[in-house]
């Protein structure tokens, strides 16, 4: 599994569409003056991987993740981040998940429910699914795209290959790969000592996660 690309739009200080591409291995450094938005990119990656706590995103509430304007620009109504990954097996698994969700949505189309959008995409979602499908989403073989959107209204949705899915679907996809918002592989600013200074049982949990 390789990381190919990160796309941000309206996430924190990135009000214009911004794309970082990666070769999948090697070292990429992110540099710039204090307060320019480097750690916001790190937050964007843990957010799209399902981070639920606004505190770990250095925000007072989740809506603080949406671009809240400057002296010259108005606030935006939507924050969207997507990760493009390359892994043939995972890409195939993602398609299977989408097929299953489609079948489920068709079956429940009649009983359109008002369930929480994080939990189950409803019939309207199926329609929405046809909604802002990203035209530029031409996937190369073996690629999959994981996305997350947050509207000012508070509604949030997760996406697989441009189509609405559930957070659970994404968590299941990443189960065996060691990828998640709190993964040991993301060390936020000022938290390097955390692995050591947490309590003995918390340290155990880190080893168990890896096991």
């Amino acid at each position: 599994l390789k990381l190919r690309k990160v796309d941000l739009l309206g996430f924190k200080s990135f009000c214009e569409r911004t794309t970082l591409t990666f070769s999948g291995n090697g070292v990429t450094c992110i540099v710039g003056p204090n307060g320019c938005g480097k750690s916001n990119i790190v937050d964007a990656i843990s957010w799209v991987l399902g981070e639920q706590s606004h505190k770990s995103l250095r925000a007072e509430r989740m809506a603080d993740c949406i671009f809240n304007g400057t002296q010259k620009r108005p606030p935006m109504g939507l924050a969207e981040v997507s990760l493009t990954l390359v892994d043939p097996e995972l890409a195939a698994a993602a398609e299977k998940v989408l097929a299953a969700t489609d079948a489920e949505a068709a079956a429940t189309a009649g009983e359109a429910s008002a369930a929480d959008p994080d939990e189950s995409p409803s019939a309207t979602d199926a329609a929405k699914r046809k909604g802002p499908v990203r035209h530029h989403l031409h996937l190369k073989p073996g690629e999959l795209v994981i996305g997350r959107r947050l509207y000012r209204s508070g509604q949030s949705e997760y996406l697989i290959n441009g189509r609405v899915a559930r957070l659970r679907d994404i968590q299941e996809l990443f189960m065996g790969v060691g990828l998640g918002p709190n993964s040991y592989a993301i060390i936020e600013q000022g938290r390097i000592g955390q692995i050591l200074s947490s309590k003995p049982l918390e340290r155990r949990a880190i080893i168990e996660e890896a096991a």
């Binding site: 450094c29 320019c36 990119i41 592989a185 309590k199 155990r204 096991a211």
Partner: protein
Amino acid sequence: SRQKFEQAFRTINEHFAQAFATLFGGGTGEMRLAEPDSAGECGIDIVAQPPGKRLQNVLLLSGGEKALAALALLIAIFRYQPSPFCILDEVDAPLDEANIGRFTRLIAEMSDKTQFIIVTHNRRTMEMAPVLYGVTMQEPGVSKLVSVRWEQPQTSEPAAAQAAA
């Protein structure tokens, strides 16, 4: 399951001792199972012995030594269960020049299999990365990217190097 945990614990511990010796230029570090608590679960203590010093609890180390020991543990877990990428946000801030050198050499070595994304203000760390993204806020409050590749400068803006300040 208990067996999987014990196997992981042993293997990660071996990697920890190796990564510790590489990053500190000697010495050793070790995880130890603490006394079981009332529920029978054992927590984990970590002891460290920088080169030439006595063995002690990691919490008695200096700021820079703690960061280095934590990196050694992270690398050890990584070697046991690799992840597609690793993001490090200014982990080199407390390190002195010599330790930054050892840190960047180890990361460069591991980067043939894993994508590392490193946020830094330190020139020595920047120099080891083939690809550099500069983030600027030339328009106050709005973040924009300028990409600076050492090999082939992708952008004609002299500001790109400025962004790396």
